[in-house]
Symmetry: C3
Amino acid sequence: MIIQSQEISLKHLLTVESLTDEEVMGLIRRAAQFKNGARSILNKPQYFVANLFFENSTRTHKSFEVAEKKLGLEVIEFDASTSSVQKGETLYDTILTMSALGVDAVVIRHSAENYYHELVESKSIQCSIINGGDGSGQHPSQCLLDLMTIYEEFGYFDGLKVAIVGDITHSRVAKSNMQLLKRLGAQIYFSGPKEWYDSAFEVYGHYLPLDELVSKVDVMMMLRVQHERHHEVGKTNFSKEEYHQTYGLTEQRAKQMKPSAIIMHPAPVNRDVELADSLVEGMQSRIVQQMTNGVYMRMAILEAVLNGKA
Amino acid sequence: MIIQSQEISLKHLLTVESLTDEEVMGLIRRAAQFKNGARSILNKPQYFVANLFFENSTRTHKSFEVAEKKLGLEVIEFDASTSSVQKGETLYDTILTMSALGVDAVVIRHSAENYYHELVESKSIQCSIINGGDGSGQHPSQCLLDLMTIYEEFGYFDGLKVAIVGDITHSRVAKSNMQLLKRLGAQIYFSGPKEWYDSAFEVYGHYLPLDELVSKVDVMMMLRVQHERHHEVGKTNFSKEEYHQTYGLTEQRAKQMKPSAIIMHPAPVNRDVELADSLVEGMQSRIVQQMTNGVYMRMAILEAVLNGKA
Amino acid sequence: MIIQSQEISLKHLLTVESLTDEEVMGLIRRAAQFKNGARSILNKPQYFVANLFFENSTRTHKSFEVAEKKLGLEVIEFDASTSSVQKGETLYDTILTMSALGVDAVVIRHSAENYYHELVESKSIQCSIINGGDGSGQHPSQCLLDLMTIYEEFGYFDGLKVAIVGDITHSRVAKSNMQLLKRLGAQIYFSGPKEWYDSAFEVYGHYLPLDELVSKVDVMMMLRVQHERHHEVGKTNFSKEEYHQTYGLTEQRAKQMKPSAIIMHPAPVNRDVELADSLVEGMQSRIVQQMTNGVYMRMAILEAVLNGKA
């Protein structure tokens, strides 16, 4: 079945806040069509997309790559460690090069928050920018695949009770999700270590102790303890076992969940830390589906951005 | 000329012992067809294969990649050094991710012997596993391309005299080859340093001094001195020159070979160690053909595994 | 519009001196055709090209990769750091492997000057070699894209005044360019630090102080200060600011340029060293076009080399 590509058209995808509700729902619907076998009809026979991951990644990187190949795009992989970045070339000049080589869109993950500002303001750079994660900033494609997974499960957002648990301060996923879910009508709860919580989150939802929250919500969104970002703020003070018992979804706590509730995690999971090992591939987990949906959501994003160039 | 894809269908390819004689001969015939220009007819228009090489490799890695592209498959390259493996993600969770992203088959080289057990037992992992080498364990695709090269040369295995010479204990190729060649009727001889020989090999063949053996056999299969694995067991006690003179195929020894006999080596060759430099690309060497045949054998393996998914 | 592939046919591309004037002009014309949308008609349905960059590169590497994909070639990327080079495999044996795997052409960048001699003399290696830069030797594809950019601008070489400014001794681009431009009738001038100038260049042109030269020439070809090569000869003695003021194209000096003159640089540019930051993307700069033209020139080169195999 061939379905005409939808009307969604984006110049870049930098943050989720910049998307309208219609665009969010349009992307979710389009991703679901791709999941059901729809094919994309792009305007040009050949598009080039470059993946520039300056931070380690398996899921996001390979998910974009599979999405690009499913769309029939030409994929250019960029490895900073063997590039002119080693000669001191800046991100700006690297992307200017990609643009000059005829690359239509770039997917970038970079440790610098808001790295994209100077790129989108440049008159010389013609590439569309898709943000694959900026520092502790945003991670829009992860947010959208999370929403797709929730919508696929429940069919609505309004009044849905979603818990976001764990290392919220360092999570780019958490920030995107709380904003968008709130806007779409969901009710947000937070839990986890108080030192990883910020009063700025109060506008989106309320902090509750984990044991109070677990029986109440439809979605348990567990966040990864990001050991790789904690060197900035001193070592984590919890042992794995302590974290698991105090802030993790133990087997015991999982039994308190509603039967219809689902478990989500952006992965990679620290098994037996955020989540008991046995729950990761369990009946209520949607962690594998999140990864699968990620491919289809990224197809929708890429299509929308390439439509924006026509 | 388009030839219908053969009936061989495999769920995984982990070891050669698990293959029947019919499967081995079927793969050899299919690889020969590919070498003669046959094209594959696969069931689906798009398959994804990921190559995960956790150990350094040129030949095996690039040979699989060429084979995949000759079959028209979508290839996902995985680089552990820029992946979430750096955040502590396990092999299991990496392959679970590949599976969730829709990857049909993965080619894995890993230093851990039998790394594949937990992968094939998982209910969540849907990928077929093709073993590209596990520690000092097995290397089935290398074994099969060796058999293909021998069969291409002689047209039979029964009664063929094959010498396996060198670092047998550390060689995953040697172990696969001795088992399969014996099963197919060949007569096996061993030579090389006694400290790299094991009495467990006696069931497959007998140890002979190199000078006694060289004039007798049809195939001189020289093994690579694997400096990279010897750190485990203390440094090699031979100088290069000593090794070459005592256990290597010198120009002098090569003159004792039957005119119809061939020289094989899995490569990379340590020139003037296992083999005199001048012999590597000489008339009796089949080392270049082994590499060429490797592409066609891997096409046959990939096709059989993808057939197994239909 | 489909245009029959031109008659240019090369066995290898190692240096620019080995090209006739007709071949140079033929490649420039063919590249211009590709830029205008011409498609290549190659003899075989599937060609394999491998990119082996043993030195860091963004532009040249990714430019070849885009060119290969625009031509519909199968691209094999080689990463020395995860290859058997780590086990001590030589360049010769690596390329012999590529040849055995059926790779039709290899693009190589390597730090050893004239690395290609032993490769093209081998009877076992069947691959065509495209030199992507050898040490401080040659960089033929960069030279050709520079010529294309100049020809696109002016439509002739005869009598054109071209300045080559900066680190001439270490620049493989400069040496290729001075030879070919001189042969095609251009008048060459040199400037930059005297310690980076060599009397051997006198046969191609003359050294002039920068301020004398800047108002005179049609092309200001600024060379990169190659910090990465200077460890061999002791640290550079200039601060960035000193270099810029003394040998760089400052905003002030740029005002002395003819209105029709253009600025070129092989990039990556050290902004505010060789060139004022504001000039890089300015009206007279052709630096972005050089990168764009590089893709089309490399298409022409690849086509000529693959034609040479038919």
